[in-house]
Amino acid sequence: MELVRLKLVTIVAEAVLEKRLLEEIRRQGAKGYTLTEARGEGSRGLRTMDWEGQNIRLEAIVSEGVAERILQVLQERYFPYYAVIAFVENVEVVRGHKYV
């Protein structure tokens, strides 16, 4: 069974951004995503619970190029304003075509 090497982009952001970030990554070419609710703390301080919830933790398995573009967008439109972080890892998957 041959495995394909792809990128896993994980974004942690304040919950209010959910809708926008899902749009963004789709626009950049992500074919799917997985989202879990999270809490957290960082340079912008504790995200206390509110009506919108706290943080979201968003994962997308994408090609290297798409990963690049997603980080680019975050860099330009989100990092300066919002409580957001993102990191990239190497993952191996079956059915590589499914994600690109």
Binding site: R20, L46, M49, W51, E52
Partner: protein
């Protein structure tokens, strides 16, 4: 009953006490937290129930009876953000965006402050007009939108159209307006079926919600210390201005004393449900700890404890 006695009654109501209990938990570093699901569930219940009750009342209110009060409310929705904006520019010396963010919050309304005022008025033996919740729905949106528009003058970025959609279709506005529609359409008939759930336990649910709100507000006080006394002054002076404005307009619109006090509290209150989400999206450059500390850390407890009895005392002058 004299104002002092009412102040005592107000302070010692389970809701107010629960709020301070929540704050105490933070202060004692207790690990008390409400499960996130519960917080969302309580908000949802409260917003829908407010709307529903308002709608049922509305279903047997003549358009004529509500026309003037509605007008007065819309007027408040126009004036209060402006007042807050200029107060923030002049007195807090904030840049346009942050001032506008505050304007959006103080121009909108806090559902819980509204409920506390309603309870206070009842305890004082008066009665507010049944359609008051309708006015809450009316007051919730314009302030936020004007706030965002004010920011436009001083900056760009963020997306306006989207911001509007966000406010209008946002959870909180949708639930309250939705509940209102359900109430109007199902009327007393419908009320009979569900009042055991949406009316009887209401104040108890509110008590739990205030416990949570106390937790959230107390966490904001840390920011407050950083932001200093001027913000505290702002967070207490603006409500007084808006409250008085609310009283006068209520009087003019022919509301009862009870209705007047409630409308005053609505005007004096600062939103911390609809506004923060919308502002965060539309005005990302604005500093959230600024407007959250002011609305939730200062103005909410101020209205809860002192503001409401004060508006009541003033109303006794105006009406009595």
């Amino acid at each position: 009953m004299d104002a002092l006695e009412l102040l005592r009654l107000n302070l010692l109501s389970p809701m107010v006490l629960a709020f301070f209990l929540g704050a105490l938990a933070v202060w004692l570093k207790s690990d008390l937290t409400l499960p996130e699901g519960l917080y969302a569930a309580l908000s949802l219940y409260l917003l829908f129930a407010i709307g529903f009750k308002g709608g049922v009342e509305l279903s047997h209110t003549s358009a004529r009876a509500i026309a003037l009060p509605a007008l007065a409310t819309l007027l408040l929705g126009l004036l209060t953000p402006a007042v807050a904006y200029f107060a923030a520019r002049r007195f807090l010396r904030l840049d346009g965006v942050n001032a506008a963010a505050l304007a959006a919050h103080y121009g909108s309304v806090s559902a819980v402050t509204f409920l506390a005022a309603l309870a206070f008025v009842q305890a004082s033996g008066h009665k507010a007009e049944g359609f008051m919740p309708t006015l809450v729905a009316l007051l919730e949106v314009p302030g936020v939108i004007i706030g965002i528009l004010l920011a436009r003058r001083s900056s760009s970025g963020g997306r306006l159209g989207e911001a509007f959609r966000e406010v209008l279709t946002g959870k909180s506005v949708f639930l309250m307006v939705g509940g209102l529609l359900v109430g109007v359409l199902s009327g007393e008939e419908g009320m009979k079926k569900v009042e055991a759930f949406f009316v009887a336990p209401f104040q108890g649910v509110l008590t739990l919600f205030l416990l949570e709100l106390g937790l959230v507000a107390a966490r904001r006080l840390a920011d407050l210390r950083r932001l200093g006394w001027r913000l505290v002054a702002f967070g207490t002076a603006v409500p007084l201005l808006h409250g008085s404005l609310g009283l006068m307009l209520a009087k003019g619109a022919g509301l009862s004393l009870g209705g007047g006090v409630v409308l005053a509290a609505m005007a004096a209150s600062a939103s911390y449900i609809a506004a923060p989400a919308a502002v965060r999206l539309a005005l990302p450059q604005a500093n959230p700890s600024l407007y959250l500390a002011a609305s939730l850390g200062v103005t909410f407890p101020f209205n809860l404890v002192l503001g409401i009895p004060l508006y009541y005392a003033l109303a006794n002058g105006l009406w009595g």
